[in-house]
């Protein structure tokens, strides 16, 4: 589609819009709106090879050939028909006492991503993990977790996992590789030569102790904990402000005013913050207390889309703006910490921020005081972080907890290590669950340096860029096969294996323990024993290790003094913040929503979950602001060349409304060269990361030029468009107080059909758009629960993605800084469902409990239902996405849900398998179903509790009460289809006098 931006503003614009095409009403977009399936989604021509999506071919087509072959096979099968071959049943030989075949068991465990710990509950069936949710006993996460953690169950069954150790490129036994490893390190110890160990962040106290033990036994050990996509600037700033590494954890339950400096805390990564956010946003009445979110940021982040007031500011200016804010607050009487010098900062509102907005922000922060908090994005420059530390110290904010943390290595430390490696100083190097050959900015130099180390070993799961350089490959367990522990605020968390090792792999810690033993230390046998010894010493009286394992945690907070802010650090940072900036565009590199720093790139569930902002799948285009795109004459999908510091990338561009002028945004973690799923998806942006840790991910001086041609984008935002009808509603607090239904007056519904009767239950759902942040956790939860297949980038580009629930993202108002509303959209289970009337074989019909049910075995694939669905939530298996899959991939399937073959329609079932299970169990117990007992996967996965499911026949149920709320509305109610899902209008709480944010009174 062509997307040339208009020279002048559009003559008439819809209030809400999703794509640029829609906003400026290109003919293609209008045409697309009229068709259910995108051009190319439905194969045309008799010989069209729709298995591979190839153009018609000459001669006997593949399709005809297959037709003949299958007819012949069917005939042969009929002739040879026999009732034998019903298969076998294989019972346990020794049944574990806790396993009843067919009944799920749940185990508490935990994992981490960088410094963030996720206590989880693992659902296992007959011993294999199939679904992950948060641990509901944990006081922080309260049963929620992040989309990436939920999808990590698929990584356990990744067919690319290394299944046995390798030495010098050949499969070897553990005895062989361990002998080599131990021999090399004993040699290094004897020679007194340094050994380098590179790994990720350490958040486990036992792992920390183990590393300390290793350091004692091998004094020449040098250790680097490197997080390539999140660490550097925050680390530099923490050292300057607090004199030590810290972990800042938002406590949004205490926050009335939140100022985000490019911080993306609502992107699903932090279930705790999101739960607190949701609790402050799910308002019953306009009198309830609501928080206010101010966002100053360059690229549009998910947090920015949830802002009440958002101002586009380029990231390099954030420090200066935040220091100006501190100066303004100080001038208004807020005390500065001792030793703070802000003389270098000019007084008054910084350029580009309207005076009214500025004064509102200052007023808000001052009024909220201890209940205000300033959060800074991990990738933002160090000065911005320091300014946020200063502001929090000035306000005395209670809404952020400062905790001492284990220091992380920065890109500078890696540079030093590379130089030392190149000089030949190291005797050995060990890479443990890190991939610097991919994440280090100057990969070629790094690889050259590594090659100079005589002994190189790699511990990891899937052979990656770093493994390619190592002599010894030691396959590591997935975290669901491992032991471990973590320290979190409020509880010490235990990690236990939920499954035995699938392959001949070992846990990284076990390898280090083996090494310790080989080097002459006395250590317990195995990491499990090591953990037990440590824990038995520290467990509170009366708690057994087994009980702690069962719960997955021991509540209680370790007493530690909070690090104190040092005012003296400010002067230098303030000076740096106001210094002149480089010419050209400013590039922001951020961890990919799906891939993070590339570690999740081989996960197809995540690759196919659309980025919540750009709605891109399987790719990382560079996002360009509307103004810059106009200046450069760019259109959506144009190939561009992005150059910075001698590195040039060729990649497609997308135009991002709301992005600050002069800012480019690009996700890290793509462009991997290894992994069956990850390989070749997107481009590797790590070469653009800077070597200055204070601003490694925000780089000035980038150049962007058209490179000719266009890429077909695998983007979902323009799919399933619902014309310019009233689908999302967003209210300001003022509107909420006075006229929540606005001009929308419920249409009088007349029907020719008999009223539906629901004798026992009527299942329904309420989705609160005010609490929904658009984080897409529901999508991943649904994918895992319902065996939703992934289809790949080519098929997504044709609109054939299979997600049962999607997040529609609507923009409102001006292109340069729109307001955004996210709307989860799934089957509405209409009482008068239009899909049901048109099915020629009655494959989709209504259940007496209000479910729009779909019988796959009856479906013949006419697709009439999808054509007639006003919500566009039906998904057709155009190709065979599942039947060719074999173990281990199929082990991730939920055995309670049919795996659908090619040629059938599918859609959300309201997790009918869960409904039936609870119904049957309640019946067995001879009791009624409790409200809240049935949770759909999306509801259980939603970290901000925006989704509520229940029985509408029960007047006391939560869902019945919410349906009557003043913000309630049903999408396309005027059609008379009577959807079972009720939405509660989004809420924005802008500062009253403000004019920014593109707010139009409706």
């Amino acid at each position: 589609m062509k997307t040339r931006l208009p020279e002048h503003g559009p003559i008439e614009t819809p209030r809400f819009w999703r794509t640029l095409e829609e906003r400026i009403e290109t003919p293609e977009a209008q045409r697309a709106a009229h068709d259910e399936f995108l051009p190319g989604a439905i194969p045309t021509g008799p010989d069209y090879d729709d298995v591979h999506g190839l153009p018609p071919q000459n001669g006997v087509s593949r399709r005809d050939f297959l037709g003949l072959v299958s007819a012949a096979a069917a005939l042969a099968a009929t002739v040879a028909c026999d009732r034998k071959g019903q298969g076998t049943v294989v019972p346990y030989t020794k049944r574990p006492v806790e396993v009843v075949p067919g009944v799920a068991n749940y185990y508490a465990s935990a994992t981490h991503e960088g410094r963030r710990v996720y206590p989880v509950l693992v659902k296992t069936r007959e011993g294999r993990p199939i679904h992950l949710t948060g641990n509901d006993e944990h006081p922080g996460v309260k049963g929620k977790t992040s989309p990436r953690v939920m999808a990590d169950v698929l990584r356990l069954y990744d067919p690319d996992r290394l299944r046995a150790p390798k030495a010098q490129g050949h499969v070897a036994s553990w005895a062989d590789v361990e002998a080599q490893l131990h021999g090399a390190l004993r040699g290094a110890k004897a020679a007194g030569k340094p050994v380098l160990l590179v790994s990720g962040a350490v958040v486990s106290p036992s792992r920390k102790a183990l590393l300390a033990d290793l350091k004692t036994t091998l004094p020449t050990l040098e250790y680097l904990a490197y997080e390539p996509a999140v660490g550097d600037a925050a680390e530099v700033a923490a050292q300057a402000s607090f004199g030590q590494a810290v972990d800042l954890q938002p406590r949004l339950d205490k926050a009335k005013v939140i100022l985000s400096l490019g911080a993306d805390f609502l992107n699903g990564e932090d279930p705790e913050a999101q739960a607190a956010w949701g609790a402050k946003r799910r308002l019953k009445s306009a009198k309830d207390e609501i928080n206010r979110l101010w966002v100053l940021e360059g690229p549009l982040t998910l947090t920015g889309t949830n802002a009440d007031q958002r101002v586009p500011v380029s990231p390099s200016r954030l420090g200066a703006v935040a220091f100006a804010l501190a100066k303004e607050l100080a001038a208004k009487g807020v005390a500065l910490p001792a030793g703070t010098d802000l003389s270098g900062i000019p007084a008054g509102a910084p350029a580009g921020i309207p005076a009214a907005t500025w004064s509102n922000l200052v007023k808000d922060l001052r009024a909220a005081g201890r209940n205000a908090v300033v959060l800074c994005g991990a990738q933002m420059p160090a000065e911005a972080h320091q300014a946020s530390h200063l502001l929090n110290a000035m306000l005395g904010s209670e809404a952020v907890a400062v905790r001492a943390a284990e220091p992380l290595a920065t890109v500078k430390d890696l540079e030093a290590a590379a130089q030392k490696m190149a000089s030949g100083a190291y005797a050995a190097v060990l890479f443990w669950d890190v991939n610097p050959a991919y994440t280090y900015p100057k990969a070629a130099q790094w690889k050259e340096a590594v090659a100079k180390v005589p002994f190189r070993a790699w511990i990891g799961q899937v052979e990656d860029e770093t493994a390619a350089q190592c002599q010894l490959l030691l396959p590591e367990n997935h975290w669901l096969e491992s032991w471990g522990d973590y320290a979190t605020p409020g509880a010490a968390v235990l990690q236990q294996p939920a499954i035995g090792t699938l392959y001949d792999t070992r846990q990284g810690e076990d390898l280090l323990l083996g090494l310790l033993k080989a080097l002459g230390a006395t250590v317990p046998d195995g990491y499990h024993a090591y953990l037990q010894v440590r824990w038995k010493k520290e467990l509170p009286f009366g708690t057994s290790f087994e009980q702690a394992l069962h719960d997955g945690l021991v509540k209680g907070d370790a007493k530690a003094s909070a690090p104190v802010f040092k005012g003296a650090s400010v002067a230098a940072a303030a000076k740096k913040a106001t210094a002149a900036k480089a010419d050209g565009l400013e590039l922001v590199l951020f961890p990919g929503f799906a891939t993070h720093d590339g570690r999740h790139a081989n996960n197809s569930w995540l690759q196919e979950t659309p980025d919540p902002i750009t709605k891109m799948t399987w790719d990382n285009p560079v996002a360009v602001s509307v103004q810059d795109a106009k200046a450069l004459g760019l259109e959506e999908g144009d190939w561009v060349s992005l150059s910075l510091d001698g590195a040039t990338l060729r990649l497609p561009a997308v135009i991002q409304p709301g992005q600050a002028q002069g800012v480019l945004a690009l996700a890290l973690g793509y462009g991997r060269t290894t992994g069956g799923v990850a390989k070749g998806m997107g481009v590797n942006a790590f070469p653009l990361v800077g070597l200055d840790p204070a601003s490694a991910h925000v780089r000035g001086g980038a150049k962007l030029a058209k490179a000719g041609g266009k890429k077909e984008l695998s983007r979902t935002q323009s799919h399933h468009r619902m014309e310019g009808r009233d689908l999302v509603r967003s209210l300001t607090m003022d509107e909420f107080a006075h006229d929540p239904q606005g001009h929308h007056h419920g249409p009088e519904l007349v029907t020719l059909y008999e009223e539906q009767r629901f004798p026992d239950h009527k299942w329904g759902m309420v989705i609160d758009l005010a609490a929904c942040t658009g984080c897409s956790a529901c999508m991943v939860a649904c994918q895992s629960e319902n065996n939703v297949p992934t289809v790949g980038p080519e098929q997504v580009a044709r609109g054939r993605e299979m997600h049962w629930i999607r997040i529609d993202r609507y923009y409102e108002g001006e292109l340069e800084n729109p307001k955004v509303v996210h709307q989860p959209m799934l089957c509405q289970h209409c009482d008068n469902a239009p899909c049901e009337n048109v099915c020629p074989v009655n494959a989709t019909n209504h259940s007496p409990e209000g479910l729009n049910q779909m019988a796959y075995n009856r479906c013949v694939g006419t697709r009439y239902c999808a054509n007639n669905c006003p919500y566009k939530v039906r998904r057709f298996n155009f190709l065979e996405y599942t039947a060719y899959k074999t173990e281990p991939e199929t082990l991730a399937n939920n055995p309670e849900v049919t795996v659908r073959p090619r040629g059938v329609m599918e859609k959300c079932s309201f997790c009918v398998q869960r409904i039936n299970d609870v119904k049957i169990r309640a019946k067995g117990d001879g009791r009624a179903i409790l409200d809240g007992e049935i949770t759909t996967a999306c509801m259980a996965g939603c970290p901000s509790d925006a989704i509520v499911f229940g029985d509408l026949k029960d007047p006391k149920s939560k869902v019945s009460q919410l349906v009557a709320a003043s913000r309630a509305y049903r999408v396309l109610e005027e059609l008379g289809v009577k959807p079972a899902i009720t939405y509660l209008a989004d809420l924005k709480n802008p500062a009253v006098e403000a004019t920014v944010g593109g707010h139009h009174e409706a």
Partner: protein, 187 residues
């Protein structure tokens, strides 16, 4: 003879008979329970339900213990057999084979007698909890030396009972109908 006359006299009746015969033959061969009934595959251990459930009057749930807890009744694990057969009838070759399997931990491959397609999610729990006997669907298992299939477990079998369950239910049961909507079994 006129051309049409011949057609009406011979070809049409012969054709009609041929069609009828084909329909009847195909219908007889493919009738639901013809294939189903009498299927009694040979099992790795010649386990006799007649002895255990009939003569010894062991409860079905002693071995098929999942039936009121799980969707599937479950085949007992080998160690459950061994809880008696460690000492009972250890001289029999079949029991010795069993003991060997239990000791080695090798899986035991029982031949399936009843099976359902992958898109059918039958749940034993509500049926057993409603007091429906195992025999209603599985036949008089306590009289079978070798388990033999009695019912085809086709959707017609399910629906017949769901529409009129009184024969299967114990006397005095308040249940008058079973679920007939798709999502009760298909999902």
């Amino acid at each position: 003879m006129h051309q049409f006359d011949r057609a009406f006299r011979f070809v049409l009746p012969a054709g009609a008979v041929a069609v009828l015969l084909t329909v009847l033959t195909v219908g007889w061969f493919t009738q639901p329970d013809r294939f189903a009934k009498g299927y009694a595959p040979e099992q790795p251990i010649p386990f006799s339900h007649e002895l255990h459930a009939g003569t010894l009057r062991m409860q079905c749930q002693y071995c098929h213990s999942g039936v009121d807890k799980s969707r599937v009744a479950g085949i007992p694990s080998v160690d459950l057999c061994m809880s008696c057969h460690k000492v009972t009838r250890t001289d029999r070759p079949a029991i010795q084979k069993l003991a060997k399997v239990a000791a080695s931990g090798e899986p035991m491959l029982w031949q399936r007698v009843h099976t359902l397609p992958d898109h059918v999610f039958f749940d034993h729990r509500p049926h057993v909890n409603a007091g429906i006997t195992c025999q209603s669907c599985h036949g008089e298992v306590q009289t079978m030396k070798v388990v033999t299939r009695e019912m085809g477990m086709r959707m017609g079998n399910c629906l017949a009972c769901h529409r009129d369950p009184h024969a299967a239910l114990p006397a005095g049961s308040k249940i008058t109908r079973g679920a007939e909507n798709c999502a009760a079994c298909h999902r």
